[in-house]
Subunit: 213 residues, 2 copies
Amino acid sequence: MQIAILLFDDLDPQDAVGPYEVLRWVPGAEVVFPATARGPRRTERGGLSLVADRTLAEVGRPDVVVVPGGLGERRARRDPAILAWLGRVHETTTWTTSVCTGALLLGAAGILRGKRAVTHWTAMDDLAQFGATAVAERYVFDGKVATAAGVSAGIDMALALAARIAGPDLAQAIQLGIEYDPKPPFEGGSPAKAPAPIVDMVRATLRELEQRA
Amino acid sequence: MQIAILLFDDLDPQDAVGPYEVLRWVPGAEVVFPATARGPRRTERGGLSLVADRTLAEVGRPDVVVVPGGLGERRARRDPAILAWLGRVHETTTWTTSVCTGALLLGAAGILRGKRAVTHWTAMDDLAQFGATAVAERYVFDGKVATAAGVSAGIDMALALAARIAGPDLAQAIQLGIEYDPKPPFEGGSPAKAPAPIVDMVRATLRELEQRA
């Protein structure tokens, strides 16, 4: 079973690494990191680079695709090579998945038409333009398409996906292996729970960064 | 403020990326990824490589140090250059931190003597040899040393650290930005909650992988 985690410039590294951390423990899984070219890809706002170990052309029939988001998602959405690859591999995948604003890339590739889907809470309104119905859940499975909410939700979605692929016992073992017994120090990890001034601050900051990206 | 996230071969990528994802949003933070040499470092069991952008010698006085763990931790623990660097930079850090078995690296560098600390649940017994007192919490702050439990606990520790560095409002904004409102699909993310056969399976698998590492 081949699992392909798409890389592109200025992606959010947690969007890729969270699902990787879970799915790499699926028995028999080979995880590859394709991009338009091999080599290091810088992640959003510099700092960390992740290395693409395959070109898109070298990954022709992955069983599972994971599409991360991040500030570079808008630019990736304008790259015909990425959209064509997504549309092509989706025809034969067992699961096509996204984390955070990676859902918008799936949408631009035509994969979310008529689907229920979720993305980062600041981008939920953008789903409709791709024919998707926005659902404010932590992750959404609709047919063979799974979408996760923002950034950290990729871990939850990947565990649910691992359960579907390899059974609940194995998924629970992975969750224990990564000691995923989360204890966030604050209540406000979603816009429904966070104080309004903090919601406004995050929305304004991300909008400004997106406009600069 | 300079934040240094140590890289070494066969580290666990989530141990590094989880705290990075949080701490990179601290205002004025410059995050660097030092290793014994610049360039790509493969993470445990192959697949993903993260790029070291500094040599250890180039990072002389970081304000915050984050030490990840993973299957490569034992080998890193035998590298005098890494231990010497940790001991040296710890003298002037504001915070010295670890995720998962990164605590054992701190221990080998003499940093945990007399401290309360935590590590991955399978490695808790190893803390005593370094003069530390094992405490089964999600993360432990003792003076300027903060240790996190296994893998995913680095996110929780980093949010608590961000609150200490930049205040609770900013930390809460970061938590909302990464939409950290976790919904693990299973209860068993810690050995106290998981069914015994799954605890045994994970312990046996990790022990075997460690012996091969």
